[in-house]
Symmetry: none
Subunit: 139 residues, 4 copies
């Protein structure tokens, strides 16, 4: 799984990419392969519920083994399935872009969740953050 230093690099680089892209204040979480929190930061000006949204994007990705974009497609094709997933995982699945799997040597070792701007911009910033840590993202 990512080390804390890698998680900090991901968060720092995701936030830097957000500033470079001119995004709204971002909140960024990094989870381990079991869906447990390694690190989180919420930028000044973000609404107070951003932790739960970032967590939901990343947690769903880890638990289902699917990035947020794939989850959103499934939600659009079969809404009741994603509703059921939310029940099965205690309401903690947010199936939109911005939840990005971290792969190391092909294996899922964690996930990043970003929220604050549009879902697609959130995902782009997360991908940049993961790349900056030398890891592979799957949006």
């Amino acid at each position: 799984m990512p080390t804390l230093d890698q998680a900090r690099t991901i968060i720092e680089a995701t936030r830097a990419e957000g500033r470079r892209m001119g995004l709204k204040p971002l909140s960024v979480i990094v989870l381990d392969a079991g869906g447990h929190v390694l690190a989180f930061e919420r930028e000044d000006g973000a609404s107070p519920g951003r932790f739960q949204i970032a967590l939901g994007k990343a947690y769903g990705a880890v638990m289902l083994g699917m990035g947020g974009a794939a989850q959103m497609k499934r939600a659009e094709d079969q809404a009741y399935f994603m509703a059921a997933m939310n029940g099965a995982f205690g309401g903690r699945v947010v199936p939109v872009p911005g939840g990005v799997l971290i792969r190391q040597d092909g294996v899922v070792t964690g996930a990043v969740g970003v929220t604050g701007d549009t879902s697609d911009n959130d995902a782009a910033a997360a991908m940049a953050g993961i790349a900056a840590a030398g890891l592979t993202g799957e949006a």
Copy 2:
């Protein structure tokens, strides 16, 4: 209800059928007639949340007395009904194929839940597993 030996046979035969069909890593659960877990196995490489998905498929089948295919039809015809079922059962109903009732002499005595590949393939593997134990499945 199934004995543990029968449950183990179901899991072993479901997994063997998955390999024969070339499916992705499967997770397989067997529940008793009260919806309680008898046995479960998650194959290497499956995402960590597969227990909850397998449980939801099998639990919904037992509690509603309907296989996953029948539940999916109901969800597509009347989404709010299945949403309400999920509320009534604490979020633990996953209404898609792969939840298969076990019948012995016509009576429901448990259910199998399989997840990992497409829902239809999951159900086919479960049916093969139940047959291998000399029991009757209802997908």
Copy 3:
């Protein structure tokens, strides 16, 4: 984390030790390092709620990084702390012997939970099961 084959060996050897010791029907769970279920079996004659008890013993061990015996001592010294842990982890911590950490090269990679006989006998059977898989248990 343990492979499924290792988890199956642990369960088989724990059950064999239970028979050798003349214990009541056992239920045995193996979790990965994130507290997620790898495998579970409930012996014939055990009460239907044994999954939750086995899960609680093993889940608390993984999440707190403490075996069941250490948790029980803490519960006896400071009952409100263990009550608070149960709140923090959604009611899923059962702080008694029978929850045993799995260590590989010194690192916690999962846990075993056993329930059915006295807590100390449950723990002894779990330790034998873990040893049979060539891993190190911490009761």
Copy 4:
């Protein structure tokens, strides 16, 4: 409330104090005045459930307006009161030292939660972290 830069300073200085004191791997959370997460870090080697414990220490402090030491005294004097608080706050109150209020000009503007070593050492590290950010802690 603390800015993200202040929260980051608190975490960095708390972790540095932990190393200086020779403590086990620490997990550190900073909450705002509404009990919502601003920032969190879990050091390598900590058990996966440390987020929930750090959150519970800091959340109880903010919501009750009492540091962890005062909460522990109340739990020892009147255990059922703290049990009731845990019910009222959804199980998220961990009433031991390591939950430290942040005061700015006398007003509570957030809280820090630290877990990993003894509760008293956790609290000492949190106090050092808050002081390093130029704020006042109440353990």
